[in-house]
């Protein structure tokens, strides 16, 4: 998978590069609009992570230009200019997703995987975690053929942890994933613990889940 990161903040693009390389992506970087445009038109990328606030041009123009010239890469727009959110959504410029800064790398990764599933219509839209089968398109979880009745948030939580298995996801990361769209006056809630408690109860009724670990003071991990 080839990824182009168009971001003028070098530290930021560096961190993204480190993370995505670890996830087995081939990363290429561009620090301004001109070099970004050149790279998009020359090479073939699966993903373009595009910052809107580029020093030499508006990121949206790069996107329009690339689409006009037939680029088939999936564009994920990254921006701190929250004010254009509505516009991007409204203009339908051909971006595949939009992530406001600051974002979590885990969140970026899961969005990229969602796009992959959508774009390439992966044959198997299911994931297996121990005895459990997660059907991502139908949003159901089964254990030995038996469907487990999860709430929307419990499913999201299980799916997100499974996507990043063998890695700790902090409460902050999980809260952002589950409740990120709604701005609430609450930064220290233990609602995630409640969701996890309920999720564990439902899963353990069907099979042992000793792989579902709590990392004290940090968060949770699916360790398989």
């Amino acid at each position: 998978m080839n990824v182009l990161i168009v971001e003028d903040e070098r530290s930021l693009s560096h961190e993204m590069e480190i993370y995505l390389t670890r996830q087995n992506f081939n990363c290429d970087v561009a620090f301004n609009g001109k070099s970004g445009t050149d790279k998009v038109l020359t090479n073939s990328y699966d993903f373009v992570l595009l910052d809107l606030g580029l020093p030499d041009m508006d990121g949206l123009d790069l996107l329009k230009d690339a689409r006009k010239k037939g680029s088939e890469a999936a564009f994920i727009v990254l921006t701190a200019r929250g004010e254009v959110e509505d516009k991007i959504k409204g203009l339908d410029l051909g971006a595949d997703d939009y992530i406001p800064k600051p974002f979590s790398l885990a969140e970026l990764h899961s969005r990229m995987q969602a796009i992959l599933r959508r774009k390439h219509g992966l044959k198997s839209n299911t994931m297996t975690v121990a005895d459990f089968d997660i059907d991502i398109s139908n949003r159901t979880v089964q254990c030995k053929g038996q469907t487990i009745n999860l709430t929307k948030k419990e499913f999201d939580l299980f799916h997100y942890l499974s996507l990043h298995k063998n890695r700790v996801l902090t409460r902050t990361q999980l809260t952002e994933h589950i409740w990120g769209d709604v701005l609430e006056d609450d930064y220290e809630s233990n609602y995630i613990d409640v969701h996890v408690k309920n999720l564990r109860k439902k899963l353990s009724a069907h099979a042992p889940i000793d792989w579902f670990e709590t990392v004290r003071g940090v968060g949770y991990r699916i360790n398989i």
Partner: protein, 456 residues
């Protein structure tokens, strides 16, 4: 409208037009009344002046006749006196010799007196004039009846009164019409410039034409003040927007770096906990910036308002999402959805944020095993959503400040950054929803949302 504006403008006072009308009616009535009181006196004065002149002229004529032709031609009676009157006894002339000089009247006097003619007493205006003829003192009396004068007086009075009323009524209408025309610019200023506007950006700066200096000045000054206000708002909003933007990038860098460090398997548990704490702190900072940016964006009209949603729909959606939170504290949520309302146009995401914050507050500040009642209904044709909790409540004196940014009440033990209710208030204002709160410590709080300005 803020709390203080409400207090200040609560008292209804009459408009300037009403005051002018009342003043006009009163002053004109006063004129009519004083005219009615003075009219008899004026008429009397005019009529008597007229009669008096006539009487004096006659006196002069008679005295001239006496001087020329002698008195003997006139005085025929034995006692040297003379009396003559018209058939209707309306006029008379009488001459008497004055026998006792001490009883001589002053040079000339005119007064009203009852005069006896043929045994019948009648009111007359009488002139009394002494004169000497042939060393004999005489007194000349000429009288004119005044009973007809009373009649004349009342005729004139009636006629003038009708005239007066007609004139007053006409002038009243002219005055009112004039005041209307004169006050028209003020009326326009009232309707176009002094209506509550959500932000100075929505203010209409078109000058209101007037030929009156004061109104021109007023209009000009209002425009100037609103311009200053708009600029101040603009600067504040741009500042918040720029600062938020500039801060989000460094936060992004640190956040992503933390994430990359935490993936490293060789970290000790202690370091991991501390890193995750740092991540939480950073997230808190980012949320504050996001909240400020959200408020500033809404106030800057940068959100679209093109969707529609029914009240029950969005409430149900939020309630479903907070179900686990309710269960955690064993709080019973009672839906009293009597009536529904289509909120249109709206921004669904913003409304979702607003209701989540309100209901989440009702959970957060509630007691274990408490309850929340959400009521939707029309009161006097206005749709209301009421969210009532059995929580810790707030003191009355704290209520006016709860929607202010960064105001956290001392009573609160829950965590937050004090921007939840300001966000609620801003989203409500964006949708023209009037939000009020009533609360009692240890009993609970009730938030009431009125949709009176939202078009159905």
């Amino acid at each position: 409208m803020g709390f203080f504006e409400k207090v200040l403008f609560k008292k209804k006072v009459p408009t300037i037009q009403t005051k002018f009308a009342i003043y006009n009616a009163l002053s004109k009535s006063l004129i009519i009344l004083s005219f009615m009181a003075l009219l008899p006196l004026i008429v009397e004065k005019v009529v008597y002046d007229h009669i008096d002149k006539r009487l004096i002229a006659r006196t002069e004529r008679i005295l001239l006749t006496v001087q020329k032709g002698g008195i003997d031609d006139i005085v025929l009676e034995q006692d040297c006196s003379f009396e003559s009157y018209s058939i209707l006894k309306e006029e008379f002339v009488a001459i008497y010799p004055i026998l006792d000089p001490r009883k001589m009247p002053p040079s000339m006097e005119i007064k009203n007196e009852a005069w006896q003619i043929d045994g019948e007493k009648m009111q007359h205006r009488i002139i009394r004039r002494p004169f000497t003829y042939d060393n004999q003192l005489y007194e000349l009396n000429i009288g004119e009846g005044i009973s007809s004068i009373e009649q004349l007086k009342s005729t004139i009075q009636r006629f003038s009164l009708i005239m007066m009323i007609v004139v007053v009524v006409i002038s009243l209408f002219i005055d009112l019409g004039f005041v209307r025309i004169l006050m028209k610019p003020l009326d326009k200023i009232m309707h176009k410039k002094l209506q509550p506007v959500p932000s100075p950006n929505n203010f209409d700066f078109t000058p209101i034409p007037s030929t009156t200096h004061e109104f021109n000045k007023l209009d000009q000054r209002i425009n100037e003040m609103m311009l200053k206000l708009r600029d101040a708002f603009q600067i504040e909003k741009e500042f918040i927007s720029n600062v938020s933007h500039e801060l989000q990038t460094p936060i992004s860098i640190v956040q992503n770096r933390l994430e990359n460090i935490m993936i490293d398997a060789n970290l000790s548990d202690d370091v991991l906990v501390r890193l995750s704490d740092s991540q939480r702190t950073l997230n808190r900072m980012s949320k504050i910036i996001k909240a400020l940016l959200l408020i500033s964006k809404i106030e800057n009209d940068q959100y679209l308002k093109s969707e529609e949603v029914t009240a029950i729909n969005i409430l149900d959606e939020v309630i479903e999402d907070v179900e686990e939170r309710l269960n955690q504290k064993n709080i019973k949520l009672i839906k009293q959805f009597y009536e529904d309302f289509n909120i249109k146009p709206c921004n669904r995401t913003l409304l979702y944020t607003m209701f989540t914050n309100l209901i989440n507050n009702a959970i957060k500040y509630n007691k274990e095993d408490g309850s929340i009642i959400i009521t939707t209904k029309f009161i006097d044709d206005v749709f209301h959503i009421e969210i009532k909790d059995t929580g810790i409540g707030m003191k009355k004196e704290d209520l006016p400040a709860i929607f202010d940014r960064f105001k956290r009440l001392n009573t609160s033990t829950a965590e937050g950054f004090g921007l939840g209710l300001p966000i609620v208030k801003t989203i409500a204002a964006f949708h023209k929803i009037d939000i009020t709160v009533d609360s009692e410590p240890a009993v609970g709080s009730t938030f009431d949302l009125r949709f009176d300005d939202v078009k159905i």
